[in-house]
Amino acid sequence: MWLLLACLPGMCLASPAEFDARAVVSGLKREVPARTPYVEVRFSQMFSRPMVTRGELEYLGAGRLGKRVDEPYQETTTIADGEVTVQRGSRKPRRIELERVPELDGFLRGFSALLGGDVAALEEHFHIAGSADANHWRLEFAPRDARLARRIKAIAVDGQASAARCFSIIEADGDASIMLVEQQAAQPLPQPLTRIRLERSCQQGSASR
């Protein structure tokens, strides 16, 4: 069934029929609590250079996520019980109820399902497509919700075997945020830091040589 979806026109990423994206997603499942350091690189039309932040991602089970930014500023985002709490430095924490912003809710649910290896929950919010070669696979998730699709074009995950290397959020206006996780986060960033080089390093599993 999902293979059919994956091969809808425009969504097919030259996937060989034997590539099983579901199995890959299931393989991403981690024991909770799962923590990983990350390096996030934002490419935006608003920025003259990529913006790099570092911190730690935390997955505490279905619908519960944490993201801590350590550099270049301090921020902790917690998602739990349908509420996002953002704490910045010593400022008063801000809370957003996810029910109020359904598109954000869908996005985070999908993301959480991805980390939990929950294929069914993921498919509820996204169309899944994928491709693979010898030592790399790439999954792409396009939002089903039209409002979310107006903002987010796709979430992509690059990895190898049962390890993810990069999570990319590709926004509808072309901006992108690429987040290097697990072992990839420890790799030096390609220099000069461009989107193409970073994407290549996500495919190849190390800084482009």
Binding site: S44, Q45, R100, D175
Partner: protein, 776 residues
Amino acid sequence: MTARARRLGLLLAWLAALVLLAWYCITGIRISTDLRSFMPPAQTADQQLLMEQIGEGPGSRLLMLAIGGGEMDRLAQLSRELLRTLRADAHFSQVINGEFNADMLDPQWLPYRYLLTSSFDAQPLDEAVLADQLQQRVEDLGSPAATLLKPLLPRDPTLEVLALAEQWSPPKSPQVRDGVWFSPENEALLLVQTRAAGFDPAAQGEAIAALESAFASITTPNDQAKLTISGPGYFTVLVNASTRAESEWLGRISTIGFILLLLLAYRSVAVLGLAALPIASGALAGVAAIALMFGEMHGITLAFGFTLLGVAQEYPIRLLSHRRAGESALQSVRGLWSLLLTAIASACIAYLAFFASGVTGLMQLAVFTISGLLVAGFSTRYLLPRVLPEKFRDAAQTPGLGRVWEWLEALPRPRWLPPALLLLAALMLWLAPAPFWQNDLAALTPVPKDLLQREGRLRAALGAPDVRYLLIIEGKDAEGVLRESERVSPRIDELIARGVLDGAELPSRYLPSVETQRQRQARLPDPAELPAMLQAASAGLPFREDLFEPFLADVAKARTLEALTPAMFAKSPLGARLDAMLMKRGDHWLGLGSIIGMHDAQAFAELTRESNGAVRLLDIKGASESLVAAYRERILHAFGIAIVLLVLTVFIAFRDVHRAWHVLAPMTLATILVLAVLRFAGTPLSLFHLVALTLAAGLGLHYALFFERSTPDAAEARRTLHATLVCVISALLVFALLALSSIPVLRAIGLTVSLGVGFHFCLSILMARKGRARSA
């Protein structure tokens, strides 16, 4: 044959005249439904304001909408579509559903945000503030909300548009889900302000119809969503419709009963139709007279007027019952005319007192009733006898009538009875529970309890303003009002913190004073220095160098803008909202603030004292009740004078103290008894009771006049009884049915007239007849 042709000709001419009159009435008059035109002229500035605000205050023009039943996504979508449809509709001055949309600030208005926002009042927009803001934006762009904020950033890096949207959303707003308001019961909520006054049922009816058709146009047949409307305007429409429906329903039954009664009494279909002509002529003449003198007639005048004109139905009945063998209808009417004329003249002279009251509504009522009674009376005297068929049945021959007459004659008439009744009435009045008067006119047309509960629930969910209280802010001009509003705003915040009220909406929330705007303008960074400041503030941040060009342009523009005045602001999407909050009154201006959830009105006294009365609380309910009380006082004065005039007229007509006493005593005693019974039963009296009492007294005057009349023979006495019985039964048919109504205002009129007719009839028989027998 020629007599018959003449009769037919006259009848046709009469009908043609009525048609012409009806045409004149329909084209020449406007029926106003606005309650205010029936109120006394305002004496003080606050009363005048009250008159305008009854129904026009921001709270009372508000309709609350809830869309429930269905998936949340669909409800939110319907809410957005309804908002768009209604915004394009001229019936509504404001429609909000909690949605933030950038159109609220049209691009051409965007530079004004730096004059409207209070963000930089404490700390001006300097390098430190800007650096902090820009750093926060970098962080925002890394957060899940990034995609929502991105479009705003280049022009508005400090997000003033969002700050203003928050400032302009209602002080206590409901939960937002999927971008629109939702109630805890999962209904999408909207607030709509009508242009029409809240208590103008016709205009509100139009607005509500527009609402319903707008909703119908956006829903599909398989939508389960239902629109629920609540608010003062909706209740006005609803209550009016149910009152009308019930009175029409009762009216139809009593009309059938009345027709059957007349057929039974006179055994002629032709007579039935002809008997309606004088009262129809009277009613049309009354309306035409008002059209001629005022051009506009109030709905209440029409209702009261028709009630009072009910007396005129007696005239043709008297004529029909008193016809006898060997005498033409014309001769019969001549025999009755002196008494009828006394009745008509005394009623008309009494109603002159209403004309002198100076209240437009009462003057209209007087004009309507006087001209109606005169035309009905004179057409009974001069036209009706000439069109009646020659064949008739003598009422004196009605089977059983003779026995009733003898039984009535044989009734004991103890002399102690009237004083005893008077004493009893005095005792009942003395013991009656308080309050004597019903000042809350709304209590007479109550809103069903479940609707009131829904209203309370929606009002709480939406944080909608109180209908009862308004905050008045006075200034010598609009600017003065806005300054005072700014000055008092922190004081009101203190009161909110103390729990005196839940929230308030002041004019300065929408538009700061010109003074404040100029101060803000002066504090904005110099356009020559801003680029350098921006560069310093964004040092170390990744923003593209030219990204904030639109921001620089807006700040530079804001420095040169002319400060917004209410007149300029009126053209903005929020202009209508502010416009409803500011008004010119003679040589000064008033600002109207709405109050949300008042808990302690007394606490505002302090604020009033501090501002030397420039800021004060208007209690619309309290003030309108005092207005009703003042109005009733005027009516009572008019009544007092009317009674004196009536008594004088009767004395002058009789030129006999004894006979006049026998007519007036039963009428007076019966009126007192009705009052005593109503009050003893715990009914607080209202204007409607007073009007009903007047009608009953008018009918009672007829009973007493005719019973008091000395009759040449027993047959004529039976005819008097016949006429009176037909009158009594027909009045009871109409009003006893009304007394059974579920609507208090109809019940008030029905019960009062029914009781009155009963008492007047009994006392006339006992007291007026007795007088005749003794003097005979």
